[in-house]
Amino acid sequence: MFFLTYLRRELRRRMRQAIFIALGLAIGIGLVITVMGASAGVKTAQAKVLRALYGIGTDVTVTTKPKPPSGRPTTGHANATGPGGGPGHATVCLNGKCYTSGTIDTLVSGDHGALSAATATKIAKLHHVSAAAGGLLLTDNRIVLPNTSSSQLQPPTSTSVDGTDISHPRLGPLSNASLTKGRTFTNHDKNKNVAVVDASYATAHKLTLGAGVTIANTKFTVVGIVTQPQASSPPQVYIPLERAQALATDPATGKAMTSQINTVYVSAGSAADIGAVQKEIQHLLPQATVTSSSDLASEITGSAASAAKLAGALGKWLAVLVLIAAFAVASLLTMAAVARRVPEFGTLKALGWRSGRIVSQVLGESVVTGILGGALGVGLGFAGVAIIDKIAPKLSATVPSAAGGGGLQTQVAGPGGASGPVTGAGPAASHATIAVPMSASVTVTAIVLAVLLAVAGGLLAGSFGGWRAARLRPAAALTRVA
């Protein structure tokens, strides 16, 4: 009771100084919360990108490098080679066969090599693995050759296609999608020509439920339309894995990819098991590329990555420096206040007060000041995060595309005999740059940290002052009065 009365009166007497110290701590703590909020926002944005790449439940993906194409011109990337055909029709040669008219529509595996479908089953049996599903990330390349020599050769088009393992709806790119129309796949769709399409693709191609979409010269009926998070670079068309395997061509062999996959999506037993899962898979498949979310995060470039680095490095150190400065100022001011109160503490010692009691009085005052600074700091932190939310531009993230290349790079001999590459656009690129909305938020961790920092700041400042008060000899303190 007496302790609190004394504390309250003393703080009231030194209100301006207490507010000054509290404000200093508040700025430091507010900055820490803001940096943590911004950092969390950038991480969330990155996580959105990563989730969109491989799905919510996927912790690890397994791929292999593609084998070089076989000797004959069955080019893995469906490279169609124009012989420079001279005047007349454009000529495109593919897999050893040359075309001068009609439509060439091929479904090929991209940057990833083929794996046996049994690989997913083997991985699923590993100790730390919760589930594993195979998938085929493919690109459908389409070239329409002009019927007449006078017609212009249109650039080829590419569509990213995901062969989805219907029996594992929680793994793979489709697991992250939200259904907006129709339905998703059921077990009855395994061998049916049904497709789920991305909403953006559907809009661009005016596709509605029941409409047809052609993949590898096969017409698929659209049964569902989905959206992926804004930050993602999703496949444009999803078809059942079995149908993809039947229609796709492995560029390395030029044969259909029956019973083959090119990506395995793996879910670990727990977040702590991800490292162990990576090791187990690497042991099982020494040639495979085993990638975790954190590996992918390191591959992200663009302003999202820069912002992450900024928040992680500069922001963190700035916050630490401001905090150190605030703590130092608080400690110095508290020591100065104790110096002014030497006669008071000397008198209390003469009255028989223990040094510990005097120290706890000083500490109590500092901790209350610190808590006040902490409360103000949390408010400043919320304000800082709100400002970041308002003014932060959209971040861009350049990520390794899930479709994994496979874009059509076609060398076409034009009617005039000139020959030059015509490159497919969009998903064919192995890297995609996407806009990532950044939404900073104050986390419970940040608030808890703020309170701890505030108390620590108060204790630190008070302990310096208290230490000085404890060292006072009563006679010396009272001499100061005289």
């Binding site: 009771m1 007496f2 009365t5 004394y6 009166r9 003393e10 009231r12 007497r13 006669p343 008071e344 000397g346 008198t347 209390l348 010692k349 003469a350 009255l351 028989g352 007060w353 223990r354 009691r357 000899r473 009563p474 006679a475 009272l478 001499t479 009065v481 005289a482």
Partner: protein, 241 residues
């Protein structure tokens, strides 16, 4: 206020025994002998006035008697305990229970009321809040400040502040009252009031009063006067006779 000089309280028991006490301060490489080879017995209930010029060791002697400082050599026995050798905790305990201090500059905590300042002296004794309140009220009444209990020091006159300091010294019912120039900052009328109050309390409570003063008129009211000169003490007995 009428001042009467009654019978001197019985002073058979020795409360202080100082033997061969010296105190040396070191300042800027120089040694200052504040108290030298001092031998002194003080009886319980005695009033000893200490006079002397500034810087001749009066306050140092008072601090040694009050356990606020330790001698460089010699013994300062209080009630059988050598304050020179006792642990800090033991000395602090003796200070808390047995000594009341009155200072020239009052030394009140400016943020606490008169009652709270007096209460501060009871905190080390670990007594209950209700008991503390009761004793504080009685102490303030005894110095005539019962109606000023909730006033801050800044709201009181110099004389009233010194009365609060006296109440703070008395509230713990000490065996010894150590007063260092208690009237040094007061005008003449207030000085007389304070001295009369101390005289009354000394007589009524059987306190041992050790009072440092420059004022010979005040010193003459004591039973003995000690004069400090260059760290040495010479005693003049029974000044009231």
């Amino acid at each position: 206020m009428d001042i009467t000089y009654g019978t001197v309280p019985p002073a058979e028991n020795t409360v202080y025994r100082l033997a061969g006490v010296s105190k040396i301060y070191r300042k800027g490489g120089r040694e200052i002998l504040a108290v030298r080879d001092l031998d002194l017995d003080i009886k319980a209930g005695e009033w000893l006035a200490v006079q002397g010029k500034t810087g001749h060791g009066k306050t140092t002697l008072l601090q040694l008697l009050g356990g606020l400082d330790r001698p460089t050599k010699g013994r300062v026995e209080f009630g059988g305990t050598d304050l020179a050798k006792a642990t800090e905790s033991q000395v602090r305990s003796v200070r808390a229970s047995s000594f009341g201090f009155i200072f020239q500059t009052f030394n009140l905590v400016p943020t606490l009321t008169a009652a709270e300042n007096a209460e501060a002296a009871l905190i080390p004794l670990g007594i209950s809040h209700a008991n503390r309140r009761m004793r504080v009220t009685a102490a303030l009444d005894s110095v005539g400040l019962g109606d000023r209990a909730q006033h801050l020091p800044a709201e009181l006159s110099g004389g009233q502040q010194q009365r609060v300091a006296i109440a703070r010294a008395l509230v713990k019912e000490p065996r010894v009252l150590l007063a260092d120039e208690p009237t040094g900052n007061l005008d003449e009328d207030t000085r007389d009031e304070i001295i009369a109050l101390l005289d009354t309390l000394w007589r009524e409570r059987g306190l041992t009063l050790i009072l440092v003063t420059h004022d010979s008129a005040i010193a003459r009211r004591a039973q003995r006067i000690g004069v400090m000169s260059r760290g040495r003490l010479s005693i003049r007995e029974d000044t009231r006779a």
